[in-house]
């Protein structure tokens, strides 16, 4: 892809790359831990609510689809439609906070916390760091919704919409990997 075709801002892509490297490190740490204690990790995995994890995945993917739609609309000059799609992405995405809160609260009520064992340490830390990314993404979506209305140059508005979109898709992608790693992958 040529430089002029790169969506968003080049600096944002650097941020995304650096962030993905951090999560890659998380996954490596987790994998090494699981290789050392497969039984403990499997027991931890069995205590997670697969349906809530799946619901979270679907919520973020749906929200991401609206984000992508908003970008397509903006490229075609339909900023009113883009704003509506962003609002939908925000509303749908906010359900992730609700399901995550329910999941964490249930775990804590059952006496499972950050220091219960190594599996749950990683579970709470990784999903917590991801949740922080999610919250920032919510703020970004809010800012983008505001910018859709402002009288700014088309190229400038589009650049930031694409940059915000790239970030929001990263939040999706990281969750999908977390979901597979924590909820689905069984110890060998």
């Amino acid at each position: 892809m040529s430089r002029s075709e790169q969506p968003g801002d080049s600096g944002v892509w650097f941020f995304i790359f650096a962030d993905m490297c951090t999560f890659a490190l998380f996954f490596l740490i987790f994998s090494l831990g699981r290789m050392a204690q497969p039984a403990l990790y499997e027991a931890g995995r069995a205590q997670l609510d697969l349906m809530l994890g799946l619901a979270n995945t679907l919520i973020l993917l749906t929200s991401g689809a609206f984000m992508a739609h908003a970008t397509r609309q903006a490229r075609g000059g339909n900023w009113t439609g883009a704003r509506r799609s962003l609002l939908t992405a925000l509303v749908v995405g906010s359900a992730f906070a609700l399901t995550k809160a329910v999941e964490w609260a249930t775990k804590l009520n059952h006496g499972i916390g950050l220091t219960t064992n190594e599996f749950f340490t990683y579970y709470f830390v990784f999903t917590g760091v991801h949740f922080l990314h999610f919250l920032i993404g919510m703020v970004v979506l809010g800012v983008l919704i505001g910018r859709c209305r402002r009288d700014l140059p088309q190229a400038d508005r589009l650049r930031w919409l694409e940059a915000g979109g790239a970030y929001w898709h990263m939040v999706d992608l990281l969750w999908i990997v977390l979901f597979a790693m924590l909820y689905l992958q069984r110890a060998a």
Binding site: S10, L25, T121
Partner: protein
């Protein structure tokens, strides 16, 4: 016509950043044996025994580290001068970049004084007291991350609003600083762990966190020198 910017002393001040990192690494890291630190689950007797056996080098290391701590602030003020060339001088971002650098100096000075206290008369202190001073120093230097994040966010956001076709500081570096400031949040979980990746000596909360910050300083300084050349040529 725009007045020529007075850049006297800027380069000198910018050199203070890499100098601070070099001195901090040698004095605090090597002489103070903080690179890496004792794991939190190390017995108090072992930590105290090390302090008693190496009190001289720790004292020297911490005294020099404290002396050079303001170098970070001096460097930060020079960066804020470059920031003034991309946004309005009275922008709050310039003020935040300055206070972030100044506060970071304090968060280096205070914990180093705790390590120095532990090495001052370790033979007269019980093991637990030395361990407590050691823990206090580490908890403070790690958990005070947010003041440095203020500096990093202010510089990053300010430089990203540079309207030049080629910004004074590259966008990727501005984003890198924001990312590092954001990554520091991981220090919040450090007090909950006595071993592993998230402990103060762990791969994330020590190796990654310190190295991404210590690498940011010289790389940013390099680009800051280039920015000064461009400002002078304007």
């Amino acid at each position: 016509m725009q007045d020529k910017v007075d850049t006297r002393y800027w380069r000198f001040c910018l050199w203070m950043g890499p100098l601070f990192i070099a001195v901090f690494f040698v004095c605090w890291g090597i002489l103070g044996d903080n690179f890496p630190p004792f794991a939190p689950d190390t017995p108090a007797a072992e930590v105290a025994g090390w302090f008693r056996g190496n009190a001289g080098s720790v004292r020297l290391g911490m005294v020099v580290a404290m002396t050079f701590a303001p170098a970070y602030g001096v460097w930060g003020y020079a960066l804020a001068k470059i920031l003034e060339q991309t946004i309005e001088k009275d922008s709050i971002l310039v003020q935040l970049a300055r206070v972030g650098a100044a506060w970071t100096t304090i968060t280096v000075l205070v914990p180093t004084s705790f390590w120095l206290t532990a090495a001052f008369r370790p033979e007269a202190l019980p093991d637990w007291a030395i361990q407590m001073l050691y823990d206090m120093a580490w908890l403070l230097i790690d958990l005070a991350y947010a003041v440095t994040s203020v500096q990093m966010f202010a510089l990053g956001v300010g430089w990203l609003s540079d309207k030049r076709a080629v910004p004074l500081i590259p966008k990727w570096l501005s984003w890198y600083g924001i990312w590092v400031g954001f990554m520091f949040v991981a220090e919040c979980i450090m007090p909950y762990f006595r071993n592993g990746a998230f402990a103060r000596s762990g791969v994330l909360n020590f190796w990654i966190e310190f190295l991404i910050w210590m690498g940011w300083v010289p790389v940013l300084t390099l680009y800051a020198f280039r920015a000064v050349r461009r400002i002078e040529a304007q």
